[in-house]
């Protein structure tokens, strides 16, 4: 097993038995579920909307070269500087370089999973910059020095008490544990940061090819402020974020909000097409857009799983995933947890190292059903398993299946070894059942096994004939 797999198993064992964690997550998500269902029901045709969204993303991703070109030309026409990064390292270097050139002291950042993906904060801090996360949830996990637990709700795993504790420790300011007061503490602290910051960094949810704009979705107004006050603005996004036309957002914005957070539409949806233009009151003097590949083109090259680039990072698949809900976001050890993470991480970061994520699924398909852009998530897990064992088969497993084939296809062997042999084995099973000597221990540790029937169906059928 890879080191990542060992860590995953260890944390999964601990958290799936942690009833407090289970109750916390189920509780947090049950509020979301009510709102999501209510908003989804307002759509005249939700399934139709999914199909349109999937077709739109399909068009964008399958003509990515054309649309990227159009997107970039639009941005450049209005004075935006566009950078291309093949790797995470290149993206970090570009962004550190911009901050150096601007002699920035402080940087304010709004939530961006892509920045998590390239470990941007570490790089900026290492280069001597002061970086503060402005999204409340991100701000909280940054104070706790941990990764976001969820791609939409970063601090979902924390209670107000835990948040009060970290505010006390790090900000020396936590009047009470009321969410209202804690939020106001963060507001006070961060307001100063916006006004002082030299550089503002955002992510993007969509890149509009037609008009050369990035679209940023948020609820708090922190990205709006990040894009309004600092003199330099940088937006980092993956090349797959493209939608062809501005009006495509009329479909995507409400869908994202509906399944992402149970809202009709998020608090702020903002399209940025350039730095401050002549005649405008404010806005950054410079606008940089960094386009990141970081193995996205490798996924693009896999036609079977190309649709995983349709992802709009709404988090819906995480929310419905029984694995995610039981092991929690940190257990994955990846930037993108949950079903989408289990699909793309092995393809972004190494199949053998990360294939355990594709195996840790009952293939229930709740993710596929939830995905607003119809990514075939559950089937991609199967394909990852196939690719992994094709590339590097496990000798034991293959032998087991090889031996199973004649057993399953030869009735007399089946009857002798499985039916009769099973009954024989069962006589002794009682002696070791549920103990470590039990060959079925992985099952019987927590569950009972039914007995083999005194007369199997096949025996009954034969007798009857």
């Amino acid at each position: 097993m890879s080191t990542a797999a060992v860590a995953f198993k260890k944390d999964a064992v601990r958290l799936s038995a942690d009833l407090r964690h289970r109750a916390l997550i189920q509780g947090a998500l049950s509020k979301y579920e009510l709102k999501r269902d209510e908003k989804q029901a307002l759509f005249q045709d939700w399934q139709g909307a999914r199909q349109l969204a999937a077709e739109t993303k399909w068009e964008a991703v399958n003509h990515l070269d054309t649309y990227l070109d159009q997107f970039v030309r639009g941005l450049e026409a209005r004075g935006t500087k566009v950078h291309w990064a093949s790797t995470a390292q290149q993206a970090r270097d570009i962004m550190v370089g911009i901050c150096r050139e601007k002699s920035a002291r402080s940087i304010v950042k709004s939530k961006a999973m892509t920045a998590e993906e390239i470990h941007l904060n570490e790089a900026l801090e290492h280069a001597g910059f002061d970086v503060v996360e402005s999204d409340l949830g991100e701000f909280i996990v940054q104070l706790r020095e941990e990764a976001p637990y969820h791609i939409v709700f970063p601090a979902m795993h924390l209670t107000r008490g835990e948040i009060k504790d970290v505010f006390e420790r790090k900000l020396h300011d936590a009047p009470s544990d009321s969410p209202e007061e804690l939020t106001m503490v963060a507001r006070r602290v961060l307001r100063q940061k916006y006004v002082q910051a030299d550089v503002g960094i955002t992510g993007a949810n969509f890149a509009v090819a037609e008009t050369g704009m990035v679209s940023v979705t948020e609820n708090e107004g922190n990205a709006r402020l990040t894009a309004a006050l600092p003199k330099t603005m940088i937006t980092l996004l993956g090349i797959e974020k493209i939608v062809p036309r501005l009006e495509d957002l009329a479909l995507f914005l409400p869908m994202l909000a509906t399944v992402g957070a149970g809202q009709l539409i998020s608090g702020y949806n903002t399209m940025y097409g350039g730095p401050r233009q002549p005649g405008e009151a404010d806005g950054p003097e410079e606008f940089h857009v960094v386009l990141l590949d970081n193995n996205r083109t490798a996924i693009l090259a896999d036609a079977e799983q190309r649709d995983s680039l349709h992802c709009i990072r709404c988090g819906a698949c995480l929310n419905v995933c029984p694995i995610y809900r039981n092991v929690g976001g940190h257990t994955y050890g990846t930037t993108y947890p949950g079903p989408i993470g289990s699909v793309i991480t092995p393809n972004l970061r190494g199949l053998q190292e990360w294939k355990h994520l594709s195996y840790s699924s009952s293939l229930c398909g709740a993710c596929t059903e939830a995905c607003p852009v119809k990514i075939d998530l559950a089937h991609h897990l199967l394909q990852n398993r196939r690719n992994a064992s094709r590339q590097k088969p496990s000798f034991l497993q293959r032998m087991a299946f090889k031996l199973f084939a004649p057993l399953a296809t030869k009735p007399w062997l089946w009857s002798l070894l499985v039916t009769k042999g099973g009954r024989f084995g069962q006589i002794f099973h009682g002696l070791v059942k549920g103990t470590r000597l039990d060959p079925a221990y992985v099952w019987t540790k927590t569950r009972d096994l039914p007995p083999i029937a005194r007369q199997s169906f096949k025996e009954w059928w034969k007798e009857r004939k």
Binding site: A17, A408, K458
Partner: protein, 237 residues
């Protein structure tokens, strides 16, 4: 009509009564039932683990056996999904692809077959109990079976159906339950919790494998709940 019944391994060994109930119901409806002697497996375990070549070794035998079947009724939604939905994927690019597509078009899960193919909903069964229904994930999301079992239950005298608040996986997932037993168990506990919340006496399903998982937890944790396959209920009169 001649119905070829496919009895998967766990029904054969652990729940023969489910298969027997299906035979009786189909015969009562006037159909001839055939039950090929082999294979005992559809090849799903190897398929789900990623060993598609080994899966085909098993599946190809089954395909050949079912080549001339008029219709194939499968005593499990999960094996049904394997044969109906995944065989065409499994055999894509092999000489058996056309046959796989042909056979998969004639495959039906038991309740689906009764309602959608035969148009039967009332079997004159009686089952005076409060029940809740577990949708096996493969039945629900691969086979798209939702209404059929419910319509059948509606016509069972005395049966009261109370739906669970959420539609979630029972945590079985085949080899998943052995590879990640703790996650699987946690999922099963959530499922049992939802079922217990309905105050039903029985969890009913079209998937014996899910019921095996649920029953295994119930027995270990001594919960006041029983499991039963839909076919067993339908055969009661």
């Amino acid at each position: 009509m001649t119905v070829t019944l496919f009895i998967p391994c766990f029904v054969d060994l652990l729940y023969p009564q489910v298969g027997i109930a299906m035979v009786k119901i189909l015969e009562k409806l006037g159909h001839k039932v055939e039950c090929p002697d082999s294979p005992a497996c559809c090849g799903q375990p190897a398929f789900n683990t990623g060993y598609w070549d080994e899966s085909r070794d098993v599946a190809v035998k089954l395909l050949e056996q079912l080549k001339d079947a008029e219709v194939v009724v499968i005593a499990s939604g999960s094996c049904g999904a394997m044969m109906k939905v995944f065989y065409p994927d499994l055999f894509a690019g092999t000489p058996h692809h056309a046959l796989a597509r042909q056979v998969s078009g004639r495959c039906f899960e038991f309740s689906q077959f009764l309602v959608d193919q035969l148009g039967v909903t009332d079997l004159g069964a009686q089952f005076p109990h409060r029940v809740t229904f577990h949708d096996g994930c493969h039945s629900l999301r691969e086979m798209r079976i939702h209404a059929a079992p419910r319509r059948l239950m509606q016509r069972v005298q005395g049966l009261e159906l109370i739906e669970m608040k959420q539609t979630v996986c029972c945590g079985f997932g085949g080899t998943f339950s052995a590879k990640f037993p703790m996650i699987s168990t946690a999922m099963g506990e959530v499922k049992c919790g939802l079922a217990l919340d309905t105050s039903a006496e029985y969890v009913v399903s079209c998937d014996s494998s899910c019921l095996m998982h649920i029953q295994g937890l119930i027995d270990r944790q001594k919960k006041p709940l029983k499991t039963i396959h839909l076919a067993e209920i339908l055969a009661q009169s």
